[in-house]
Symmetry: C3
Subunit: 186 residues, 3 copies
């Protein structure tokens, strides 16, 4: 086959227009994705041995009590956590990593949280970390936060994590299902 | 027109050198930009009904009082907020979204803050979130923070937000003008 | 030299496959890198003049005391800092910028922290900011966090920062060596 060179140039030019270099078309399907669960057991004054998170900040109206929420939607209550990550929704499954960071409630009118945390993996399957931040309007069935970076196996990755509350019990336990979708892999 | 193939190859090679793939040239003009204002009314012990933010952490020298700042530059005072976003600088304009997150003051010598927050939109105009972090040296007229990710309409976007203090009143109210400039759109 | 056009097309096609546009190959060597040190002097109740950081949050079991850690691994203790950055490991060297942000300890069983902070530069050498988040398992000699964005000289940069504890003294002072490696420059 022999094509006219002019055609070749035009074809190449079209390819360039379509390339991310020119911001016109980027893939909207993940280059990698994973589903994980993590389990949060909040310190309530009686469960020191089992708790994986604790309130460390609260507004004035909490009167310095960090084990009971002073109001319905927990505005301002800030928790630090080190939660086990599992591959299924069973709290007793072997952890494959740790979810470490903070969340705080940030609405006076509904259940709304904000998250800043990392997934930390150090197993034969995954080594490295994934870093997340974003708003978590917990009353919505499914919500998206940003995957802002990664290290190790997830070197420089970016993406979106879709979060669902998989279980919620007695103000002490919740389980989140996290669908990590990387759209930028390296 | 018929060009020598050698020339074509050379031309293509130059195009590649100029492409982000090789980190040499990226566009420095926004692919999208917006101006928003958000309004912060800090809880001072008397304005529970109107307050949109509250101090939830302070250093030891604050003696547990989270409604009065113990020192001039508020070092260590940490606030959680859920502030209305408007399109103009009028506090009474209809909100188009919420700015949700935290700020804390982090200097003993000047007014300096650090921000971690999201813009949350759920209207016909915008659906999705934009996530921000960065240093906010409030004594400078204009300062830049990072737009580290987005979801929904702002899927995977990155950029810079230029922040200006548009109003500041009596330790209780401030209004920020936020010029969100996306340089990476998807 | 005259190559068959078919060959040219095939060659161009290969180049495209290798381009980041198609997520297959991205450079894993930094486009820029720097080594910095920053110095943290934690407020302990007696060093108000020298302290560069202060605890602003702690769990209930800390009983409101923010100058003494209630347990071995400091779970939940949250510090705000404004630390000098130097080019070498000497605390008395002239600062070239400030590291501003927060860290908190997030494990009940080992020394583990989480970081959210910015490097702020305003000198003839560097003007701009670099924004970081990530898990900091301080018991490991070297650990990686994400560089999630930058402004000014570091406009839109992304990368990895490799952190090492360069010194640790008496619960009051630590020095971190930070190797900032940008893999995405603009």
């Amino acid at each position: 086959m022999k094509l006219p060179t002019t055609f070749v140039i035009f074809f190449i030019f079209l390819l360039f227009l379509a390339s991310p270099a020119y911001g016109i078309e980027k893939q909207h399907y993940p280059c990698k994705d994973f589903v994980f669960y993590f389990h949060d057991v909040l310190y309530n004054g009686k469960n020191a041995a089992n708790a994986t998170s604790a309130i460390v900040g609260a507004p004035q109206w909490g009167n310095g009590n960090l084990t009971v929420f002073a109001d319905a939607f927990r505005f301002g209550y800030t928790a630090i956590f080190d939660d086990p990550i599992t591959l299924d929704n069973n709290f007793h499954s072997a952890p494959v990593g740790r979810a470490q960071g903070m969340y705080f409630y940030d609405s006076k009118k509904i259940f709304n949280a904000w998250l800043g945390f990392s997934f930390v993996f150090n197993s034969t399957q995954h080594k490295g970390t994934i870093n997340f931040i974003g708003a978590d309007p917990t009353t919505e069935k499914s919500r998206d936060i940003s995957v802002v970076g990664g290290t190790g196996d997830f070197f420089m990755h970016r993406g979106i994590a879709t979060i669902m509350t998989d279980s919620y019990e007695d103000d002490v336990y919740f389980r989140l299902r996290v669908h990590v979708k990387f759209y930028e892999c390296w």
